[in-house]
């Protein structure tokens, strides 16, 4: 009988010892560390963009960009042609707190599709810190045929266009659609957005979708794509400008990973698990991305029957 009684005691002691050891969690919470933040978007055939440079703020503190703006940085953007040869250097200067713009006359130059732009930021008083990023601007595309640019809201015959197909890095295109109302009156709100608007309709004047892959649309035998505008992208009846953005890899990574932090995306992360966004920037967080865009004006009519 004695061995039988002794054995549980040993195991109880072993359990207690294990519990004490287990009290040490080796995977502890780390502390906040300030990071540089870059924000800049190059849009093909539009002027060279400004670059916002700032730092992060502790999460539990008030955030104001002006308080976090970084001045005095040396900012350059290098342009490379399709063969990888550097053909242009843009020097940026901080015209306003934390906002850097190309020095005149470079500010008038347009972003060229298919060219690669490399960001290089250094800090005179921080010799060892450097921020670099690179983006290849997607090719432009155009409307081959306007199939329908005026129709009744939620009609089965949707707004529809046939566009040329640009190829980016031998992958399918990733689009974001944005709609800007040219007639943003409250009485023009569509039912879904009226319900979502609360009291402020200003934020609905321009709305955008999440990323929509090219494969969602019909590929025509002539190589063009037929785009059908989903009705959820229309917030106001009347005239709207629909902008179709074709994203580079940096923008794609940023805009597919950012919504996941606040519960978007496929929703496979457990509630409360937050992952960092995919930034594709060395030495900082943020985005240095590019895109090409196509604007089309449409007219959305009120449905004939409520």
């Amino acid at each position: 009988m004695k061995p039988a009684l002794r054995t549980p005691h040993l195991f109880v002691m072993a359990i207690m010892a294990a519990i004490m050891l287990a009290g040490c969690d080796l995977y502890g919470q780390d502390d906040y560390a300030e990071q540089y933040v870059v924000e800049s978007y190059l849009v093909a055939q539009r002027p060279m963009p400004k670059i916002r440079l700032s730092t992060t703020a502790p999460f539990n503190e008030t955030y104001q960009f002006e308080e976090r703006a970084v001045t005095g940085a040396e900012v350059f953007v290098y342009r490379y042609d399709e063969n990888g040869i550097r053909d242009r250097v843009y020097e940026y200067a901080g015209h306003a707190s934390g906002i850097y713009r190309p020095l005149h006359p470079d500010s008038d130059e347009l972003v060229l599709p298919r060219f690669t732009y490399r960001l290089d930021i250094s800090f005179p008083n921080q010799n060892d810190h450097r921020i670099t990023a690179e983006t290849s601007v997607p090719d432009t595309f155009s409307v081959r045929e306007v199939i329908r640019d005026e129709t009744f809201y939620q009609s089965p015959e949707q707004l529809e266009f046939r566009i040329t197909r640009n190829r980016t890095n031998n992958r399918q295109n990733y689009f974001i659609y944005a709609t800007e109302s040219l007639d943003p009156l409250e009485e023009n709100l569509t039912p879904f957005w009226r319900d979502a608007a609360d009291d402020d309709i200003e934020e609905l004047v321009r709305i955008r979708t999440t990323i929509v892959n090219e494969e969602n649309f019909d590929l025509n035998p002539d190589g063009t794509l037929t785009l059908r505008m989903p009705w959820i992208g229309i917030a106001f009846y009347g005239k709207n400008i629909i902008s179709t953005f074709s994203l580079d890899d940096n923008s794609y990574d940023f805009f597919r990973s950012q919504p996941v932090q606040t519960g978007g995306g496929p929703g496979t992360l457990s509630p409360g698990e937050i992952q960092n966004i995919i930034y594709n920037i060395d030495g900082a967080i943020g985005i240095f991305g590019s895109m090409s865009v196509l604007d089309i004006e449409v007219n959305v009519l009120r449905p004939p029957f409520p």
Binding site: Q35, K50, F192, E214
Partner: protein
């Protein structure tokens, strides 16, 4: 109530317990002998040809000349006794019951068909003792001559109610239920412990050490560091893919229909496969073989009805459960916003059993369950969830001989899930289908008291379909049709009265990708003293599918399979255990485990739109591990009975490109977890039950920093960015909750038995935190708690006839 750790692999014959070593094993063969399987078939055919005949023996009589001549090899092994053990009132077979040849130390337990065999018994007069938890013991005197092969079917009467003793009389039976890594959950426990809204199998299983719940809202099983997809769930030997109702709040298994629930928490034997972690094996009732009976239960969320009875040739069972919320919803509609247009769920379990043949039994079991929710929210938007399972199994059990038991099952399983969302005239629709057709065959052969061989085959075809529709057009269509097969052999060897060795091999083949994987399994059990056993087990496990799941709501669950470029996940498990029964009325168990998870594949959480992507691009790949120990102390006697279970556990994952490629804990990781389940019989009519759970707060990611992007060219809106350090390195406040319930036995107008259950969930209304959300409209950002269940009273009324 009883909750006893259980022993043997489902559908396999548990081994006899050898106390003496009078009859040394003749077959100390090297384990893993596939060839033996064929040898068995060949040999058993010979046995039949030589005229062994089944002998219908009334257990209340002393058998005499019921034995036929046996071939030479069986004569050499002297006599044997075998048969089925059933409930005397219902005729249900009793699984895991103990049969002891008194004063010899020889014995056996019934397998998952209620069949037992005791071999190699020297000629003589014996008393055979049958015991089973909750039943009166039964003793039968028998006389065995050399070479006898006695068929002895027996029936046990359910134990009468006793105030002071909950009957667990058989230490041997208890020991059989204490095999490494396994546990058994009684239907009595499932029905008696307080549970939210209604009794539930999974909620009861979550009380066991090593098993965790993701939240109050989830019935998903998180076992030893694995997610719900790492547990194979079988109903009548058929895979069930999403066994949940009501957004995952509780499981689809109707407690009225269930006969047996076996859980293998880890290092499970070679008879099972296809999951990295564990197995939950659920068997429905056969149906009452003696009289028509049933239950009717009215609850707050749903009501249940079950009827069972005999018919010429066998028995049947039909159990139906349906939500009963519609009248309440109808009353609320029009006065309260956001009331679903439709909301119902139901499940039906049916089984027909034909067992008039002495050596054959045929049963057909079917299950269907559906959840349907149509929920409008706001103007011009709504969602519709429609998902469920259907299973069908045809099971044939055949006694090839007294020593050889075979089982063949044809199974079919369908999982469907069709969520539809509509926002402002734009529709998102997903269709996920799994069809799984399979054939299983198992054989159990006991050539001697010290050795048994189990072998089997499981093969079939899985058809997986995933279709996405956006705005009326199909944006994704993936179909994977794959044949699969697995074969196993398992050897149980007892080289003496202290040792038991279980060694097996399982070979898995998955046609898509041409994956052939071998899983060795091994366990050893050493009896240190009369009441103390030391155990160890190890094995390799493969998994050919993964679950795209939202922990908050299981209604969107989507299964994805391995294919070209997506290899199966695999892992190793190591378990050490100690079981002690030295104090009468108490059982103590301790298990230590470590397991690895490699080639994990999960749906990439950063993939917003999967259209046009190659199948391997849908996934992120990673690895993980889990370690911990579990202590379990059970009190089985007296007016106060119950158990306390403690788990110390740790689980980690890492995926390429996430958390800087560091290991991190998933949300459900809880370091400490204590469950206390207590029942007290106040009187013959009243019983009070209580469940208390304390657990370390779950892991969450603490936001460390923030910034804002304000110049995006799309709409210029502010984009909030959170910066984090180590993912899930912080902990929510500790979780604790106390549930109590009162059960009052009564009669229904003196016509039949009835029972009231009054329960209070979360008695002191502890608002446990589920997760935090962040309001970026405030500056600084405001953190808000999303909490779990408040106090919930519940009442149910059950009539049994």
């Amino acid at each position: 109530m009883h909750l006893s750790p259980d022993a043997y692999p489902a559908n396999l014959l548990p081994p006899p317990v050898v106390i003496d070593s009078m009859n040394p094993a003749k077959s100390h063969a090297v384990p893993v002998l596939l060839a033996l399987l064929f040898l068995v078939f060949a040999m058993e055919t010979e046995v039949h040809a030589s005229g062994t005949r089944p002998a219908g023996t009334d257990v209340h009589t002393r058998p005499g000349g019921t034995n036929a001549p046996l071939p030479k090899e069986e004569l050499q092994s002297r006599a044997s006794v075998n048969g089925f053990l059933r409930d005397a009132e219902t005729g249900e077979t009793l699984l895991g019951a103990n049969i002891l040849l008194e004063d010899t130390g020889r014995g056996s337990t019934t397998n998952h068909s209620g069949y037992y065999v005791i071999n190699n018994i020297p000629a003589g007069a014996y008393t055979l003792r049958f015991t089973y938890l909750g039943y009166d013991d039964k003793r039968v005197d028998i006389v065995l001559n050399e070479g006898d092969n006695l068929r002895l079917d027996a029936e046990l009467n359910p134990a009468g109610f006793t105030m002071d003793e909950l009957v667990i009389t058989s230490k041997r039976e208890l020991e059989e239920r204490q095999n490494i890594g396994s546990a058994s959950v009684s239907t009595e426990l499932i029905k008696s412990v307080p549970s939210v809204l209604q009794a539930d199998v999974f909620r009861a299983v979550q009380l066991l050490p090593g098993v965790k719940a993701a939240s109050d809202f989830s019935s998903g099983l998180y076992i030893r560091g694995g997610g719900p997809d790492q547990t194979l769930i079988l109903l009548d030997r058929t895979t069930v893919y999403n066994p949940s109702h009501f957004f995952g709040f509780f499981s689809t298994f109707n407690p009225d229909a269930i006969k047996d629930v076996q859980l293998y928490k880890g290092a499970y034997p070679a008879a099972y496969g296809g999951r990295l972690g564990s197995v939950l094996d659920v068997y429905n009732k056969d149906g009452n073989r003696n009289r028509t009976a049933g239950t009717l239960s009215l609850g707050m969320l749903s009501s249940r009805a079950m009827i069972e009875g005999p018919y010429p040739g066998g028995s049947y069972m039909l159990a139906v459960r349906r939500s009963t919320l519609e009248p309440l919803l109808a009353a609320l509609r029009g006065t309260v916003d956001n009331v679903p247009d439709a909301f119902y769920f139901y499940d039906i379990n049916a089984r027909v059993n034909y067992d008039r043949w002495e050596n054959n039994r045929l049963s057909i079991a079917a299950y269907t369950g559906t959840d349907d929710v149509r929920f409008p929210f706001g103007d011009d938007s709504q969602f519709n969830l429609f998902y469920g399972n259907r299973t069908l199994s045809i099971d044939w059990t055949h006694l090839l001989s007294r020593r050889t038991f075979t089982n063949v099952t044809l199974t079919g399983s369908e999982y469907f899930n069709d969520p539809v969302f509509e926002f402002g005239g734009t529709e998102f629709e997903r269709r996920n289908r799994i069809y799984d057709l399979s054939l299983k065959a198992d054989i159990e052969w006991l050539p001697s008291q010290n050795y048994e061989l189990l072998a089997g085959f499981w093969g079939g075809r899985k058809i997986f379909r995933l279709e996405d529709y956006f705005d009326g057009g199909q944006t994704m269509s993936e179909e994977i049709v794959s044949d699969y097969a697995a074969t196993y052999v398992q050897n149980i060897w007892r080289p003496g009265n202290r040792w038991k060795i279980n060694a097996g091999l399982r070979l898995n083949y998955y046609a898509n990708g041409d994956y052939l994987r071998l899983d060795p399994r091994f366990s050893v059990d050493y009896r240190l003293t009369e009441s103390t056993r030391l155990q160890a087990a190890a094995g390799r496990f493969h998994q050919f599918l993964t679950l795209l799941t939202n922990e908050a709501i299981s209604a969107f669950d989507i299964w994805l399979f391995t294919d070209e470029g997506v290899p199966p996940a695999y892992g190793d498990q190591f378990v050490l255990g100690v079981k002690n029964t030295s104090v009468p009325g108490y059982n103590f168990e301790f298990e230590l485990y470590y397991r690895t998870m490699r080639d994990l594949f999960e749906f990439d959480p950063f993939l917003g739109d999967a259209a046009g992507l190659a199948y391997p691009d849908l996934f992120r790949f990673g690895e993980g591990y889990a370690a911990g120990f579990e202590a379990f102390l059970e009190k089985t006697r007296g007016r106060l009975y119950g158990f306390i279970g403690y788990t110390w556990g740790l689980t980690r994952r890492k995926f390429d490109g996430f958390n800087e490629n560091r290991f991190y804990p998933p949300k459900y990781d809880r370091i400490h977890d204590v469950n206390l389940v207590a029942n007290y019989r106040l009187s013959r009519r009243w019983t009070v039950s209580g469940v208390f759970n304390y657990a370390t707060g779950q892991a969450f990611t603490k936001p460390l920093g923030r910034t804002e992007m304000v110049t995006n060219p799309f709409d210029g809106s502010a984009i909030d960015v959170i910066t984090v350090g180590r993912v899930n390195a912080s902990r929510l406040p500790a979780y604790h909750r106390l549930d109590i319930g009162f059960t009052r036995k009564s009669t229904f107008f003196r016509l039949t038995d009835a029972e009231w259950q009054f329960q209070i969930i979360n008695l002191y209304s502890r608002r446990n935190v589920w997760f935090y959300i962040y309001d970026f409209d405030e500056n600084p950002v405001k953190r808000e708690q999303v909490r779990m269940l408040p106090i919930i009273p519940a009442v149910s009324y059950t009539v049994t006839f």
